[in-house]
Symmetry: C2
Subunit: 334 residues, 2 copies
DNA sequence: CTGAAAGCGCTTACAG
DNA sequence: CTGAAAGCGCTTACAG
């Protein structure tokens, strides 16, 4: 049932080497025997053992990819881009679920070494000593997506240009006449850049800064909604004359909208709301949420390209991928 | 940098066999040399090559898992269950994205044979001749999740009990006084069972059957919304006195709600709406969608258990996993 | 308790 | 154009 190359060689009355050559179109072999060998392979439904092949070839052609959380809709888009592109290069993807757990990341790095992956695309939720040390044991190319490694770490990255994106969104609100804009800040890396943009924006136009920090990362809708609502309440309480909410993510924005809805406040009539991420839901008529498109799919494709560059020994630059305001109906002009 | 077992043997002044024994706690080796060997392994950061190991052990301890679409939120939950459980058994997961493409499924089966996976959990979107034939080339356990193989195919499955679930939901509507219930049918397997339940339900209570079929599977929100809206319009047109909509999925239900919203119709005041699936969004106050919980995570866990039974050579029965009505605010009592 | 040797299923110089 | 042989990095009887 499970034939080996020997069985094929025997059945085709040739040597193992000849079968191997037919399989890999390496070395020359007469068209006739080639045809014959291929035919018996087909007939016997023989499939070569990839692992045996890997072990003599020293390259697995599999790339390890880490996902922060297997149910995270944010990652899914970029994963699709990575997967599509990598497969064009003839590489397979081994996906490791991190489950927001540092231990799991460490295990994944070990697995990557055991399995001799040819490269890694990673998404650690932080850059602790242990993580940095684990990464340093690797002797294969590593690219970080949507997370920027600390300066001393030589890992390359691709990330959204959160600062520029946030600034574009704030300028958009400014153009629509908003001057009392509050920021619902995300407690993660991207959140920092957006926060910094907000601060610079306030300084530039001499506006009062009104910041509230949500307490968890925003990939689970129900948690994010609870959080967004809570943040909105704090803002309404401390700065009741706020006219616009610049939310760190769409889910947080929807949470804020829930808070507004419960108080009977109209969006955008009584409060303008914007998010970041352009999740599918944002376009539903109840929300009509103006937000930032992050082009996650394209980022994934680009990530695959970058990693392949590294695998081929080429030098690369870190990339900050652009964002774009998606205008809908959640912002009014003052 | 990339040490082999030979390097360790040399460094520890023992034989390769001894190192191997220390690695696998197989055979006996004196506590002292064991300690010493383990220490040099640690010091040299040696990680055994899994593939070399696999090739002599004839078991990879990796399970192949197919996903219909890498961005599908429906699969994500059960995948998490599968992954969590399999990892408790000490198995790794290799995820193959089908992208709703039959060709990709065939490629995955080939890959499964090349990589000598120990078992497969699959989610084909259909059971064509080619798919059945490809599956028959496999000599490892295969379990189908959320798809039921045709009778002649010996593949086992686990699926939600769609028929019973749909019936429970319809009885729920009946208890709330609804007699003119329309069904927005899904054009897939699960949809058939729900449709059958609907037909039986109508026959049982002598109700007029009012069915409209949505044209695509419902995992992408925007498509499903467009579809659900369209379906609702047809129903409103053909059976204007309908009081409740039994929708094949939550996304379709939300689409129907968009249709109602655009006409200024109130839910549940002027129309009751129920879905299936209990997606996160369903609990938002705008929807308050009454729906069916499918316990996808638990189904994934159970799937892993079943596959492990098969891998161990035990016999199993197909399982139909239970569902439960989740009551919210989208149904009124007549 | 330890190690030499054969074997797993392939690939790849190399000789003919 | 073809094949014998060594090698990839492990494991596993087996002998001592």
């Amino acid at each position: 049932m499970r034939y080996t190359i020997k069985d094929i060689a025997a059945a085709a009355h040739v040597s193992v080497s000849t079968v191997s050559k037919c399989l890999n179109s390496y070395g020359d072999v007469s068209p006739e025997t080639k045809r014959m060998v291929l035919e018996t392979i087909e007939r016997m439904q023989y499939v070569p053992n990839t692992f045996a092949r890997y072990i003599s070839q020293h390259a697995t052609h599999v790339i390890g990819l880490t996902v922060p959380d297997i149910t995270d809709p944010y990652s899914a888009q970029s994963n699709r881009g990575i997967e599509t592109r990598l497969r064009e290069y003839g590489y397979d993807l081994f996906i490791g679920n991190l489950n927001r757990d540092e231990e799991r990341f460490l295990q994944f790095i070990k697995k990557a070494r055991e399995m001799r992956f040819d490269g890694l695309i990673i998404t650690p939720d932080g850059w602790s000593e242990r993580i940095l040390k684990a990464i340093s044991t690797l002797d294969i190319p590593v690219l970080s997506i949507r997370r920027r490694p600390p300066a001393l770490c030589k890992v390359h990255f691709i990330d959204g240009d959160h600062y520029a994106g946030a600034m574009a969104m704030l300028e958009y609100l400014y153009r629509h006449g908003h001057r009392r804009i509050a920021h619902l800040r995300l407690p993660n890396e991207a959140g920092c850049y957006r926060f910094q943009a907000y601060l610079d924006f306030c300084a530039k136009y001499q506006l009062e800064s009104r910041v509230v920090c949500s307490s968890i990362p925003a990939s689970i809708l129900s948690d994010a909604v609870k959080n967004g609502k809570e943040c909105y309440r704090q803002i309404a309480c401390r700065w009741p004359d706020t006219t616009a909410l610049f939310c760190g993510s769409d889910f947080i924005a929807i949470g804020a909208m829930v808070g507004l809805w419960e108080e009977g406040k109209l969006v955008p009539g009584e409060m303008s709301v914007v998010g970041v991420g352009n999740v599918e839901m944002a376009s539903l008529p109840w929300f009509g949420l103006t937000t930032m498109e992050l082009f996650r799919y394209e980022m994934g494709v680009k990530a695959a390209d970058l990693l392949m560059d590294l695998v081929s020994g080429r030098e690369i630059e870190d990339v900050l991928s652009p964002m774009m305001v998606v205008e809908r109906t959640s912002v009014c002009t003052l």
